[in-house]
Symmetry: C2
């Protein structure tokens, strides 16, 4: 290998509110070779996902925070450029957790070999990866949609929401998306086949959502929170299920909203409608991974599930793209192309 | 039969806040005989339960409201005094839904014959009835306690909470109760065998609850809401389950509490701890009734489950006793003895 310089994005300061340009810092370090048994990879794609906002905080969560001065974490697709493990060879294409940098050294058991003939490399970070599986397990294991029920999905054009809705459609639900802006809504109904998609920025959002759910809502896949959640609550049917996957509308908040405290109202709804509200993260469902990969690969081949990627070029673009993600500026699964994808240039 | 006058308690006005004496009215009407196929019963015991506060409201809920001028609803144990049904005979002891009155006419399929040799009649409204089964199905089907886990139960000396905790103990949990006042707490630990019971009126309630749950909380059986819920939230373990059975602390509220709006904090807890919050009512689990009755009868015979009744005398005492129930003044399952229990006076 001839790589000598590694660029990486480190957490410079914990954000207050929306991440500021000074909260992340691009720096250069020498590339360190792999130790015995390790593998050195060049990053091709870096995934940008809302959960990363949580890792920038030091509040307790399901995963450790990124320390100040440490490289931002993230899922990556890369190529092995030097291996001191018998499990991988130079040139292998892999999925790993390289973070926001040009090169990463990995233990072999933190890598999974990818077959670019099965699906485009980038999908390992999207529809065939963590976001796709989040949609799959959250909807099937917690949402438990039944044929004929109404499923509402926020962030419907996003990496997770787009898959949730398409699976709901495959399972025979009426699927109503919520997205930001007419372009995304058109894509969600036109390309993804949702029955309806409501623009949450529209002035009559609540009444339009209600009109789109004439039989109420049986499953609300929660990845947003905020006003969308509020609008949904009034439309839920008895025994509705709410898988809680994310709360992107809250991630940049620096304080709680003004009162009154609506927890008693929420709890009353949970009681009288016998709602199930259940948080989850995809790693709680590792045992479903093989089933997910096989099922999703079939849906992709048959065209039952489609996806859209929003790819920004260059590691230096990652901080700005991430800030935009938290504001809903991306359109589809957000990825950073850190280096050329050899399966596309070949 | 020689009954001619029926006293009944009707809803005179919808309460604002705590029910006022003028919200309920005792009135007299002629006893109407049973129609063809019907059964006339004399009320022996009337059950008073927190859910009745909800029936006094006209807000949408899982059951219809009591109309103004209508008899307050309620579970009753009674004796058949005239039957025009082949299913019941004069003298039969029955469980039904007679409401707050001396006599009620029932369809036979709304009655269940009771065997006073199996268990005291009054238990059909308590440990062997709706409250007991609420505890049983809510804990087992939603709380899903595992041996060695910590279970916290509010209103621990009450009709439901006392049974929840004792079942938790039978299932091998560490059981921590919350109750109002030292007398109830002593009963909960001394008589019911909970591992600890914390007085929610004590100034250091939060720190004492934390000390009583050194390994955190895995199941919180929610029948209270308010400050107890707030204290519990910070102690919940990952994957904790919260069956939501009641919210008595909120029932008399006329407005939401002051802000900030803590829903985002609650939802974040649900997400990062992967909590399950699920509302239920006992009628959703009718299919478990036979299993419940058999299991609970065994526990009562063996002494594994104990119970305490708080019996007030006379229908005219019902309104005041009900107001006290909402303030936690009862100690054990609250019942009204509307007429003499023939199995006790015999």
């Amino acid at each position: 290998m001839n790589a000598t310089i590694n660029r990486r994005v480190v957490l410079a300061a914990r954000p207050e509110g929306a991440p500021a340009p000074t909260d992340l810092r691009l720096e250069q370090t020498p590339v360190t070779g792999p130790g015995p048994g390790e593998v050195l990879c060049r990053t091709i794609y870096l995934s940008l996902d809302p959960y990363m906002r949580g890792r920038m905080m030091d509040a307790p969560s399901y995963a450790p925070s990124v320390g100040i001065g440490e490289t931002m974490v993230g899922g990556t697709v890369g190529q092995v450029i030097e291996s001191r493990s018998e499990a991988f060879f130079e040139g292998d294409l892999v999925l790993g957790a390289g973070g926001w940098q040009d090169y990463w050294v990995s233990a072999p058991d933190a890598l999974r070999r990818l077959d670019p003939s099965a699906a485009p490399l980038s999908t390992a970070l999207g529809v065939m990866g963590m976001p796709g599986m989040t949609a799959y397990v959250g909807l099937k294991e917690i949402g438990k949609p039944q044929r004929g029920e109404t499923l509402v999905v926020a962030a419907a054009s996003g990496a997770v929401g787009s898959v949730v809705g398409q699976i709901g459609r495959i399972l025979g639900c009426r699927v109503v998306g919520v997205a930001g802006g007419p372009e995304k809504c058109s894509y969600v109904t036109g390309e993804l086949g949702f029955d309806a998609c409501i623009d949450h920025r529209s002035a009559d959002f609540r009444s339009r959502l209600k009109a789109a759910c004439p039989d109420g809502i049986d499953v609300y896949f929660e990845n947003v929170g905020g006003p969308v959640f509020d609008a949904v609550m009034g439309l839920l049917n008895d025994f509705a299920r709410i898988p809680v996957c994310g709360l992107i509308a809250h991630y940049n908040a620096t304080s709680l909203p003004e009162g009154p405290d609506r927890i008693p109202r929420l709890m009353r709804q949970i009681l009288v409608k016998r709602l199930t509200v259940r948080g989850f993260i995809v790693f709680d469902f590792r045992q479903h991974e093989a089933e997910f990969l096989e099922t999703m690969a079939g849906w992709l081949r048959s065209g039952s599930v489609r996806y859209r990627e929003d790819i920004v070029e260059g590691l230096e673009a990652a901080p700005g793209a991430f800030t935009g993600l938290l504001e809903g500026q991306n359109f589809g699964k957000l990825l950073v192309r850190v280096s050329a994808d050899p399966t596309l240039t070949a």
